[in-house]
């Protein structure tokens, strides 16, 4: 039976003892001290001089390593088991990509180095640009955005620049977003100064074309959409959607969060999208790092290249160079060149799979997900709102079970944690009541998929027979169910505010 590690690990500050340390930084050489002469601290202006020491832990190296290693054991991860978190594409992260990223020729290059000293990385970025443009059907990519939402934001900035160039920015203030969209879409649009107009889903779970026609018009800046959408349903009317938006003078944005479903099968560029972002930490298998780093490259159609951030990476036939010659560039969206470590991993991933492998990734992800869906529907009371046809993910409703037993989707998700797998995404998208959103990426074996199926069957059964076990779940994790209401107060955020006495004691 699964049981997560439990260490009752205190905060490191609570292990602190005066005088201990975990690292000796390099000291200046005798020559340096001699040449500098006077007390170096005299150089620091009094107004900026620290009084006393910070209250950091004073612990030895083994204590630090043991502390964080123990904590790591209290953390579920893809390397431990299936992580069917819908819309997050928690696939296996190949180790060769990690090995490649450890290269000092990558780790120890500075972003301001002369081009002549960084030809290798520039060549990789140049090729990655070409690969991703080919994969998405776009003309050119910016590799600068460091996350999906950062890509969306750049996309919205490009829309601003485009409409501004046509003298229409003042009128075109509306961004149309389906009600099934990820929260980042409306947030990115609003951050870029657009008013969000929500377009409802129809009975099939796709964009209501009539409703779209009503809201699209001279005020439309663009439409942001995922395809397949968050329900896992392919927007089969995508060409009509594109036509409506383009006829209204707007731009069509493709949110690549769900790109894993269509890799090598259909390209956003061919579907009429003008701007696309990809989540390399999803589709291209770079690790999520507990929330980051990621990378969200953005691709555009030919006539929008003039707005891309600078610099791009160019090649003059002999050498690679930073290309600042982008006439109406929006400028920069990150101080340097993007999350290079992530980009290199994605480059290695593409080479590892090649054209047929990439296509097999999408096909297998869709196969895996549909397999789980078929089995769960066949053997449980979970319902599937909207149409049956799904791609890489699906959203079940636990509403019926919940009404009959009082057990909620949240409880069922928590219970699944007891069996050594991660919970599906719960309560999203908001258009499905008691939603449980499942994505079974291509890297999951049949055995893992069957385990996931069994988990659904079992929570369904337990909801009838033993609802209390579900309501009080999880039971086999490092800690039992957490009081998140009590946590939601600013004073919980740091030790300093949370517990001044503990801090005083530690210091």
């Amino acid at each position: 039976m699964f049981h997560q590690a439990k260490w009752d690990e205190p905060l490191l500050l609570e292990r602190s003892a005066p005088g201990k340390r975990g690292h000796n930084p390099t000291r200046p050489s005798d020559i340096e001290r001699k040449v500098v002469g006077q007390d170096p601290w005299k150089n620091v202006p009094k107004a900026l001089l620290r009084n006393g020491l910070p209250t950091l832990p004073e612990v030895s190296e083994p204590e630090v390593v043991r502390h964080y290693t123990r904590l790591s054991q209290e953390n579920f991860a893809v390397d431990l088991g299936i992580y069917p978190l819908g819309s997050c594409t928690m696939k296996y992260n190949p180790k060769v990509s990690e090995a490649i990223a450890q290269n000092p020729k990558l780790e120890k290059i500075h972003p301001e180095q002369d081009e002549s000293t960084v030809q290798g990385i520039l060549a990789i970025l140049h090729r990655l640009d070409e690969f991703l443009a080919e994969i998405t059907g776009m003309s050119r990519m910016s590799l600068q955005p460091v996350a999906g939402a950062a890509g969306e934001y750049l996309g919205a900035l490009i829309m601003r620049a485009y409409h501004k160039s046509k003298g229409e920015l003042e009128e075109r203030r509306e961004m149309i977003i389906p009600d099934s969209a990820h929260g980042t879409n409306p947030a990115s649009a609003a951050m870029a100064g657009f008013n969000v107009v929500v377009v409802p889903s129809n009975d099939e779970g796709t964009v209501d074309l009539e409703a779209l026609r009503k809201v699209a018009g001279p005020k439309t800046a663009g439409l942001m959409i995922t395809n397949p959408n968050t329900l896992g349903i392919f927007e089969k009317n995508v060409l009509q959607i594109a036509e409506v938006v383009h006829d209204a003078g707007g731009l069509l944005y493709y949110d690549g969060a769900n790109f894993n479903a269509i890799l090598g099968k259909v390209r956003p560029g061919d579907m009429g999208f003008d701007i696309v972002h990809l989540n390399l930490h999803k589709t291209f298998a770079t690790p999520h790092g507990g929330g980051g780093p990621g990378a969200g490259p953005v691709g555009v159609r030919k006539d929008l290249e003039q707005f891309l951030p600078v610099p791009l990476v160019g090649f003059d036939g002999k050498k690679y160079f930073f290309d600042y010659d982008v006439p109406h560039s929006v400028g920069k969206v990150t101080a340097f060149h993007g999350n290079i470590g992530v980009l290199v991993r994605a480059y290695a991933y593409i080479l590892s799979l090649g054209p047929d492998g990439l296509k097999a990734v999408a096909e297998t992800a869709v196969l895996n997900t549909n397999y789980v869906l078929a089995k769960v529907l066949e053997r449980s009371k979970f319902e599937l709102p909207f149409s049956r046809r799904r791609k890489h993910e699906f959203v079940l409703s636990a509403k019926k079970i919940s009404e009959q037993t009082g057990v909620r989707a949240l409880d069922m998700g928590k219970r699944m944690l007891d069996w050594g797998l991660h919970s599906p995404t719960v309560y999203f998208p908001q258009i499905v009541e008691e939603a449980m959103m499942v994505e079974a990426p291509e890297t999951e074996s049949l055995r893992d998929l069957d385990e996931l199926v069994e988990a659904f069957i079992r929570v369904g059964k337990e909801a009838d027979s033993d609802p209390e076990t579900l309501r009080s779940a999880p039971h086999n994790t490092s800690v039992g169910r957490i009081d998140e209401v009590k946590a939601s107060h600013p004073k919980t955020l740091t030790l300093k505010w949370n517990n001044p006495s503990a801090r005083a004691k530690a210091s």
């Binding site: 500050l13 975990g22 690292h23 000796n24 340096e32 170096p40 601290w41 150089n43 620091v44 202006p45 107004a47 620290r50 290693t69 209290e74 060769v96 020729k105 290059i109 301001e112 990385i121 070409e130 934001y153 900035l157 980042t184 951050m191 870029a192 969000v196 089969k236 061919d270 298998a285 790092g289 980051g292 780093p293 400028g331 920069k332 990150t334 101080a335 999350n339 080479l351 054209p355 047929d356 296509k359 297998t364 196969l367 397999y371 078929a374 046809r389 998700g413 991660h422 291509e442 999951e444 998929l449 490092s478 039992g480 009081d483 946590a487 939601s488 919980t492 955020l493 030790l495 300093k496």
Partner: protein, 491 residues
């Protein structure tokens, strides 16, 4: 667009990508066995398709309009074995010259510090590396506690009440801080130093402009390199949301006047944002102590290698509940289990965030740099208060040493500014236009990478460059730099 052309023209002068194509596989796609794909082989596929009740994979894709389907192989390269992939990327990266091959005197936001081996060991724990945002707190206590410790350590170091669990980098942290200040004050102007990293300035502009926030700069003193107080004061008005200052400044100057800026701001109803260097707080006063309302930093230097500038680590913290409610991104809080018996951690105040508040969220940020927040927590735990102070002192000494050595070269003015310096300093070269460019090229030819040229972005400084020295720069490296500059300038 990807094709034979770029292969032929490859700078390596050899075809390094295999042109072998898996034609056998293409004919019968259902049998693409691959180490990452346990279910892609024909028999398993067949069984699964039967379980689903469809005849083929194509049937699962039949709702895609046929005219847009990709009916050809993508033009991307393929290397059939892991070893080939590794060798290929290694060979490409071998074309780089890194700070392991030559001393590199560059800083300007990304710093080469020695990263203790224990940090890499911790970050390589795949329980951290391959996990997602800790939505399910009970199974993610390790990550949550680590992030809480990060927040607490940075809060103590800066004397802020709250710190979030990371933003993308220092430049976007500045953008978010500006928007926060504008929301909190209802004002629409941000003042920033004239001497700001141009990349950072551009990012700030992209965060500010769509929110209707104007950016104005205040001058630096052409002699000391510190801020021009009169100029700053004259620019703060009733629409000023915040003033941003950096310690040390972009030019490496420790400007005591910055400590007075918060009270100047507060007198006019504006907020003070201070950018700090994490290591420097081993010796410098926490910005919270002199009244900063929001602090931001680039945390790459205490969490990860340079990696050509990314991934980095955006740090943001603030004081007071009012501002905390405006913080972007993930916040981790300390709580208990429902039965009240055990300490536990979870994400908190999520109603600020995009997945709940959508267009009304404080920011669109979702994916962040959590792994490096753990890296920073590990770094600060290893060094502790004494280690951090000692490192600050080392860099202080090494900065002074480098300045002293370079100042002995005829034709070189260093430091360009008279103010005290930490880690970075501006070096000016007497001579006609192009002197610096030629020198930097020659330095590379002799195995040393000089400072960042300021010629284009700060023409008022003439033939100047920003040099950076940390604990990784040996005495020998600095001496070599000095000798080379002397020799090359003579020539």
């Amino acid at each position: 667009m990807v094709g034979a052309d770029y292969k032929r023209n490859d700078f390596l002068g050899r075809r390094i990508i295999s042109s072998r194509k898996p034609t056998a596989f293409r004919i019968q796609m259902a049998t693409f066995d691959h180490p990452f794909l346990p279910n892609a082989s024909a028999p398993i596929r067949k069984m699964m398709l039967e379980a689903i009740g469809v005849a083929s994979i194509d049937e699962l894709y039949s709702d895609i309009p046929s005219q847009v389907r990709t009916n050809r192989a993508l033009k991307v390269d393929w290397l059939p074995s892991e070893q080939e992939v590794k060798n290929h990327v290694d060979r490409m990266l071998a074309e780089n010259k890194s700070a392991s091959d030559m001393p590199v005197f560059l800083g300007a936001g990304i710093y080469n510090h020695y990263l203790p081996a224990a940090i890499k060991a911790i970050l390589a724990r795949t329980e951290f590396q391959t996990s997602y945002t800790p939505y399910q707190a009970e199974v993610s206590q390790g990550l949550l506690q680590s992030l809480f410790e990060f927040q607490s350590m940075i809060a103590d170091l800066t004397q802020m009440d709250a710190v979030n669990s990371s933003l993308y980098d220092g430049s976007t942290a500045l953008g978010e801080a500006a928007r926060m200040a504008s929301r909190a004050t209802g004002r629409k102007k941000i003042l920033v130093p004239e001497g700001l990293h141009p990349g950072k300035f551009s990012v700030l502009k992209n965060y500010a402009e769509p929110a209707g926030i104007g950016i104005e700069t205040f001058r630096y003193d052409r002699v000391t390199g510190g801020l021009e107080k009169g100029n700053l004061v004259s620019k703060i008005d009733r629409d000023t949301a915040a003033v941003y200052c950096e310690v040390p400044s972009f030019f490496g100057v420790l400007d005591p006047e910055v400590a007075n800026v918060p009270s100047i701001c507060h007198a006019k109803g504006a907020l003070s944002i201070v950018g700090f260097d994490p290591v420097s707080l081993g010796g410098l006063k926490p910005p919270g102590e002199y009244g900063a309302d929001i602090v931001i930093a680039e945390g790459q230097s205490i969490s990860t290698e340079m990696n050509f500038g990314g991934p980095a680590l955006g740090i943001i913290g603030c004081r007071g509940e009012n501002l905390i409610r405006q913080l972007p991104g993930r916040l981790i809080g300390m709580t208990t289990t429902l039965d009240g018996k055990e300490r536990a951690f979870s994400m908190v105040l999520q109603t600020r965030e995009q997945h709940i508040r959508r267009e009304k969220a404080t920011s669109n940020i979702c994916t962040n740099e959590a792994l490096f927040a753990i890296g920073a927590a590990t770094y600060l735990s290893l060094l502790g208060p004494q280690g951090l102070r000692q490192l600050f002192e080392s860099i202080l000494v090494k900065t002074s040493y480098a300045i002293k050595m370079l100042s002995e070269i005829p034709g070189v003015v260093v430091p360009h500014f008279t103010g005290p310096h930490y880690q970075e300093f501006v070096v000016s070269f007497k001579g006609p236009k192009g002197t610096l460019g030629r020198l930097n090229k020659s330095l590379i030819g002799h195995g040393v990478h000089g400072g960042k040229s300021l010629v284009k972005d700060f023409p008022e400084l003439g033939e100047s460059a920003l040099f950076c020295v940390t604990e990784v720069h040996s005495t020998e490296a600095v001496d070599k730099l000095r000798l080379l500059i002397e020799k090359l300038l003579e020539a």
